[in-house]
Symmetry: C2
Subunit: 115 residues, 2 copies
């Protein structure tokens, strides 16, 4: 039972890793294209956006642009925020805020419920 | 029935306005102090953080600092993101992303349930 649960958890984590887009310092539009590609070409019905520090606002921009301009059927399923401990090159520790936005393709999840 | 619902809605909106802290360009710590004051001195059990554009990451920082360092009993109840249309001085329109983070004082909401 526990093994099975473990296996399911690991599979879920693997799927999540593959569907995660990390937001960096490029223009938002590049991440928008990445999200749309992930949904359309790779057939995912869930995409996760992860960002930390100052790029958090770019993650929100990306989610909003995808939802409002490109894929009206996308819903923002969940937003989680958190804190990560970083150690820089000089050995100084600092905290940085993180965000994880889960986007769900509403059409696909309805039509492939039994998949 | 509808009138009553309207009244309740208006009261809720009024409370929300009073408990909302708008995040601007000051250092995060100033907003942290504002949140803690709102919870402790003004006796609120819910505080809303609102931010737009680049200050979104500061809103996340504020929520995380309050939760991790100052008030361990705070929970992040809800996070909403959205888009606002702005018209600048030259009449050009632009979209800006927004975030609203709802913080709940878990202790207070348990102890004053009948209030």
């Amino acid at each position: 039972m526990t093994e099975k649960a473990d296996k399911i958890k690991k599979t879920e984590e693997k799927i999540k890793d593959e569907n995660t887009i990390f937001i960096g310092n490029k223009p938002s539009m590049q991440y928008v294209i990445a999200v749309v590609t992930q949904f359309n070409s790779n057939g995912c019905n869930k995409v996760f956006l992860k960002a930390r520090g100052r790029t958090i606002s770019r993650a929100v921009d990306t989610a909003e642009i995808v939802k409002n301009r490109f894929m009206k059927n996308i819903i923002i399923k969940d937003i989680q925020i958190g804190t990560e401990n970083l150690t820089n090159e000089e050995g100084r520790k600092s905290n940085v805020s993180t965000i994880e936005i889960s986007l769900l393709n509403n059409n696909k999840s309805n039509s492939t419920k039994n998949k």
